[in-house]
């Protein structure tokens, strides 16, 4: 069973995705901040990380993605954010500053999210 770490400070989003993933047979770990996310990552060795951008700091997601890729280059990261809607900012993945495997805007349809996750897990 693949283990997915959700790092996001939006509790409603986290509980909805948690429900979706569990009901589809995934094991789920949850963190609400970058620091907590790094601790759980070290402890639980997830197979994939769902990562928000703006948490305690506006760039927490980018910083965490950079740290994760240094630690475990092959762990897929799916960045999920509504930063574009909230701030008008336009980001995308790039190998240096946003080193994630895929970048999606929230809200995201459950089937698309599952499809992306399965794709990144190589299923």
């Amino acid at each position: 069973m693949a283990k997915i770490l959700i790092v996001d400070d939006d509790e409603d989003f986290v509980s909805a995705v948690n429900l979706l993933l569990k009901s589809n047979g995934f094991d789920v770990a949850i963190a609400n901040s970058r620091q907590e996310g790094m601790e759980i990552f070290d402890k639980d060795n997830p197979d994939l990380v769902l990562l928000d951008v703006m948490m305690d700091e506006p760039d927490d997601g980018f910083v965490m993605a950079q740290s994760l890729k240094k630690k475990a280059k092959n762990i897929p990261i799916l960045m999920l954010t509504n930063v574009g809607q909230v701030t008008g900012m336009d980001f995308d993945k790039d190998s240096e500053m946003v080193p994630v495997d895929d970048f999606e805007q929230k809200p995201i349809m459950p089937n698309i999210l599952l499809e992306k996750i399965n794709q990144l897990l190589g299923k």
Binding site: E57, P58, D59, F62, V63, Q66, V86, T87, G88, M89, D90, F91, D92, D94, E96, M97, V98
Partner: protein, 567 residues
């Protein structure tokens, strides 16, 4: 009336477009140069500029009329005398100099002599607060002016033999240097180190140092750089905010002169980190005399491959810096207003979001940082984050450079760690009998003796570096009046609470002075302050009532002593 040859104007504009570019962002420097030629901006000059840039003439007039250093209505005198009216110069005897100047020339402030020789104006803060009263004649500065010296200066102008107090540079007045001002780093050392690091490593080093913007707002520098670095966009920009306009601040004047290389190193490192290829130094109009010096510094760096293509042999790292002059608008110190000004518009702050890190200069990702922030960044890259963050407090890391002026024995530039107590600072500067301290300039807070144990830090009393000391005889209502006159003059006028609220507060000060302000009205004014703070969209408006509120709250006996019995 001067006859202006339209064809000649067009030729001049064509030449200026070659120098500054042919898009709207060239408007300000073109107008500034045309004003140099015609001594003001006649209608025909503005019309031809508009046609040449493909914009409506009204747009050009709108821009020209916004900036106090651009003149649209009448020809200015051969010598434009601008006397600083900031509180520090006021305390040092500005009024006597003003009277002397008016008497010498037979005109009032805001007027030009009939022979076209002199224009007399007030200006806000020349950045010479430690050497007041100060005045500027065209691009030359004069410090510690008294009536006798003013008379001599006018006589020199009449003979067309004006000598500057500072033929080359304004000497620094550093009274206390610490790790930022006194180090053994060589120019370009920081760039060499940065180019051996990855972009994210640079930003992480800045993040670990805890560096927050030194302009006053205290936004984490690394977050700004990270967001701009991550933002989509082929053209990214680095802007140095050298529009040091906060009354009582003059540390950037010294940094621009004496730490130029480290500033340019910091900008170059910022460019590398976010992936920018172009940069600007937005230099305040009052520092025009520095422009030539900075241009020479940039030219030297180009010849040393520290600017230009493939910097220091790093393939694909291209970056260059241009200087753009402000034109006497304090609000342009606000980063979005600064960007508007760079783009050739009136310096009116933008709504946020979007933020400059994503939608800055011409819609591109842009970082705007203060002079001191860039210098700190360069030093941190070489010396490491711990070297920086061992100083300061938990939430305000590092050393801070302060401009200290007013009623103290040793005014000047001081480097202290964040978290220093106001009482400790006063001891250092020789202000033991101080009555009040204005921390953070006109937009900051005025504290009384009961608060001298508080600290200067973002979590307590924040400051971009301006500290003005008031002695026991200072009339605090006069201080409040000076600051409010400043905001009435400098409000860009976009937000009604700021545009109309500050004149109301100033009116309240006048009523207080005349003993005609009731308690009820004073309370109404305090409510108005809240409205101005809540309903203005930029830092200028939001902070404009701070001085009024803190003076009314902290000096109640003095203020209320002039209020008639409660109604």
């Amino acid at each position: 009336m001067q006859i202006i040859d339209r064809q000649k104007v067009n030729e001049q504009i064509r030449d200026l477009k070659k120098k500054y570019g042919d898009d709207r962002s060239a408007l300000m420097p073109i107008l500034q140069d045309l004003q140099e030629i015609y001594e003001y901006l006649p209608d025909v000059v503005m019309q031809e500029t508009a046609h040449s840039l493909g914009i409506h003439p009204v747009e050009v007039e709108g821009v020209a009329s916004f900036y106090s250093f651009l003149r649209t209505k009448e020809k200015q005198g051969k010598y434009v005398i601008r006397l600083c009216r900031t509180i520090s110069c006021d305390l040092a005897g500005k009024s006597n100099v003003a009277r002397q100047l008016e008497n010498e020339m037979g005109i009032k402030f805001g007027e030009t002599t009939k022979d076209g020789k002199f224009t007399l104006e007030y200006t806000n803060c020349l950045g010479m607060c430690d050497r007041g009263p100060a005045l500027m004649i065209n691009d030359r500065l004069f410090a510690k002016v008294d009536p006798e010296k003013a008379s001599q200066i006018i006589a020199d102008c009449r003979r067309d033999f004006l000598k500057s107090d500072f033929p080359k540079v304004v000497p620094s007045d550093v009274k206390k240097a610490g790790p930022i001002l006194d180090h053994d780093l060589k120019p370009a050392e920081a760039i060499k180190k940065a180019l051996s690091m990855s972009r994210s490593e640079i930003i992480n080093t800045i993040r670990e140092s805890g560096l927050k913007g030194r302009g006053g707002a205290g936004f984490p520098t690394a977050v700004k750089w990270q967001l701009a670095g991550a933002a989509k966009g082929k053209n990214k920009y680095v802007v140095c905010n050298a529009d040091e306009g906060e009354p009582g601040t003059f540390k950037d004047r010294m940094l621009l002169y004496e730490h130029t290389d480290f500033l340019l190193d910091g900008m170059t490192i910022g460019a590398y980190a976010i992936g920018a290829s172009k940069g600007f130094i937005y230099l305040r109009g009052e520092y025009l005399y520095m422009k030539k010096y900075l241009e020479e510094a940039l030219e030297n760096r180009r010849s040393e491959h520290l600017l230009g293509k493939n910097i220091l042999g790093k393939d694909g790292f291209n970056f260059d810096i241009r200087i753009r002059m402000g034109a006497g608008a304090y609000v342009c110190g606000e980063e979005t207003a600064l960007i508007e000004s760079l783009e050739g518009y009136r310096g009116e702050p933008r709504n946020r979001p979007p933020f400059p890190v994503d939608t800055g200069f011409q819609g591109n990702p842009t970082i705007v940082n203060n002079v001191e922030t860039f210098i700190d960044s360069a030093l941190i890259i070489v010396k490491g984050s711990e070297w920086f963050n061992i100083h300061g407090t938990e939430k305000s890391k590092g050393m801070k450079i302060f401009s200290i002026s007013g009623d103290c024995e040793r005014p000047g530039i001081y480097e202290f760690p964040f978290g220093i107590k106001v009482s400790e600072l006063l001891k250092e500067v020789g202000g033991e009998d101080t009555k009040a301290v204005q921390i953070g300039g006109a937009s900051g807070h005025c504290i009384s003796q009961k608060d001298f144990n508080r600290t200067i830090a973002f979590e307590d009393i924040g400051s971009g570096g301006s500290i003005i000391v008031f002695g026991p005889d200072t009339d605090m209502l006069q201080v409040a009046r000076n600051f409010l006159e400043f905001f009435v003059e400098e409000s860009c006028g976009q937000c009604t609470p700021c545009r109309d609220g500050n004149p109301k507060l100033l009116g309240g000060i006048e009523m207080l002075e005349n003993g005609r302000c009731s308690f009820t009205y004073l309370n109404e004014l305090k409510k108005l302050c809240e409205t101005i703070q809540n309903a203005s969209k930029c830092g200028l408006g939001q902070s404009s009532p701070n001085a009024f509120l803190s003076i009314v709250d902290n000096f109640k006996p003095e203020i209320l002593g002039r209020v008639p019995e409660a109604d």
